[in-house]
């Protein structure tokens, strides 16, 4: 697959949006879907549909195999040691809630500390906040440096003898900073502290290797990774999945059920209660194939070049202020413009077909810290081109004209 032609794989770009070509710069929010993924959903529902795992008829057996095939693909893709370490959830948010709930229930008590960072998405803060309320734990925040990064040293500094788990984003969805997760994990493990990584923004853009990274938990959002909505992945080391109590209770996750008590099923069933997102799981296999066919290294290179270009273009545009200047920037460029509120920017850009996001991007803590109520964010996927940033730039100039900004 030729990275220059990749856009053709995404049907959404074939149609005009309000008479404009779509310049989609909102992939950190959710990515567009390649045709193969949509086709897979279509074919599954129209030709092969059945629930998985529970019936022994032909369609059910076939669907179960397809479902489990995705698990194996994910395992290989992120280089997990075993396929039982892959748990399907409804999203990254659920994956983190699962860990916070199950880990918290078993291992956290009053006065214990959970270390997160100022970069965290609400999805990696609110679940821990619940434990603060129910158990009286404390939440510590690793602070950003002037580049909008979280350094290894800062994390080391914030670890105390009470730190029981560290939960950090891999790639900030605002500053674009990539955290030194491997080093942090090594240090944390030397103190006996497990590490959860919010991989929402990294998974679509970086080569993932769980065994190399070493973290204990890794949360992924499939809809940001060229996959269907309503699906996420929790990677967790087997020993944790064995030790932790299950999360939701229901069909499929049990061993034996009696009026007096219940035993739970084997991994990963123990964590997959109720009917799962069958079609979505099966289609996600195509997302992984799609990425593999391009090659994640090629995607990394393409996106790195692109984001560098975008950064340059925006830097040259006076009155645009970039948020964060991390040494290694992921697929995200957040910015503000003097005198123009991000919401107004987004509305004016939209008129030209340029789709960005404005707001706090579920990172109020970070915006507070930066003394902003909101920012504008352009984020990319494999289908973006330099042309998209040129269009972004000229639309920004239009904003400035409307607002008489210099």
């Amino acid at each position: 697959m030729n990275i220059q032609n990749i856009k053709k794989e995404f049907p959404i770009f074939k149609n005009k949006v309000q008479n404009n070509d779509l310049v989609y710069l909102d992939s950190a929010n959710s990515s567009q879907k390649p045709l193969v993924v949509v086709d897979r959903i279509y074919d599954f529902y129209t030709k092969e549909f059945s629930n998985v795992g529970r019936s022994v008829h032909y369609l059910a057996v076939a669907a179960t195999n397809l479902y489990e095939n995705t698990r194996i693909s994910v395992q290989k893709y992120i280089n997990a040691k075993e396929k039982e370490e892959i748990v399907f959830t409804k999203g990254a948010t659920e994956a983190i809630n699962l860990v916070a709930s199950s880990f918290g229930q078993k291992y956290l008590k009053e006065g214990d500390e959970v270390l997160i960072s100022e970069l965290e998405h609400h999805s990696n803060y609110v679940p821990w906040h619940y434990l603060r309320k129910s158990k009286g734990i404390k939440i510590e925040f690793a602070e950003i440096n002037k580049n909008g990064e979280i350094s290894l040293e800062e994390v080391e500094k914030k670890i105390t003898s009470k730190t029981k788990i560290i939960a950090l984003t891999h790639l900030s969805n605002v500053t674009g900073a990539i955290l030194p997760i491997k080093q942090i994990t090594e240090f944390a493990h030397s103190k006996g502290i497990p590490v959860l990584v919010d991989g929402c923004q990294s998974a679509p853009h970086m080569k993932l290797d769980m065994q190399e990274l070493g973290c204990d938990f890794y949360a992924i959002s499939c809809h940001k990774m060229y996959g269907p909505t309503g699906l996420g992945i929790l990677y967790a080391k087997k020993k944790w999945l064995e030790e932790l109590p299950p999360y939701q209770g229901g069909g499929g996750m049990i061993g034996e059920v009696k009026k007096s008590g219940i035993t739970y099923g084997d991994l990963p069933n123990k964590y997959e209660a109720g009917t799962m997102a069958t079609a979505q799981v099966i289609a996600f296999n195509e997302s992984i194939k799609f990425i593999n066919e391009i090659g994640i290294k090629n995607i990394e290179n393409h996106e790195e070049e692109l984001i560098r270009y975008g950064e340059e273009v925006l830097r040259k545009n006076n009155s645009v202020k970039l948020i964060g200047s991390p040494k290694k920037r992921g697929a995200v460029l957040s910015f503000t413009i003097d005198g123009i509120h991000p919401h107004d920017i987004a509305t004016i850009l939209d008129e030209d077909g340029v789709a960005i996001r404005a707001g706090h991007h579920c990172c109020q803590i970070l915006h507070d810290k930066l003394d902003l109520t909101a920012s504008a964010r352009a984020s990319i996927g494999v289908y973006n081109t330099k042309d998209d940033f040129d269009k972004l730039n000229s639309s920004i100039n239009k904003c400035k004209k409307i607002f008489n900004s210099k």
């Binding site: 919401h343 107004d344 409307i402």
Partner: protein, 155 residues
Amino acid sequence: MNLKELYQEIILDHGKNPRNLRKTENFNKDAKGHNPLCGDKVHVYLKLNENKKVEDISFEGQGCAISMASASIMTDLVRGKEEKEVKEIVNDFLEMIKEKNQLNNKILHEDEKTKLMCLSGVKNYPMRVKCATLSWHTLTSAINNSQEEINSETD
């Protein structure tokens, strides 16, 4: 859709230089409003005199051009009106923004209405309606002196 209608001169002017952006001294009514999705915030302060007339009104807050302009114009138009009249203006405005195409109240002068109608451009931008209405909902809440914070989400 039409950006020119949305960002009329008046809006840009009030957005850039909002009137009454301060805190009324000795206010006797106030309320806070907040849009959790975008982070916009507004705090409205009212001073009603013994005849329930608006002696002073002001606001503090941060937001987009639309929300700042809306609060600015609102505070300008409402000063000097009686509580009952204020409520009528608020309702009229909210109905105009959501359904109707004109203002029907008999309280505002024609030129005041024209000014207010400048905000009607948001009708074509459903996601921005909340920006225009946040301060108005907050004003209602201040008058009713209800303690709860207004979330524009309920629009």
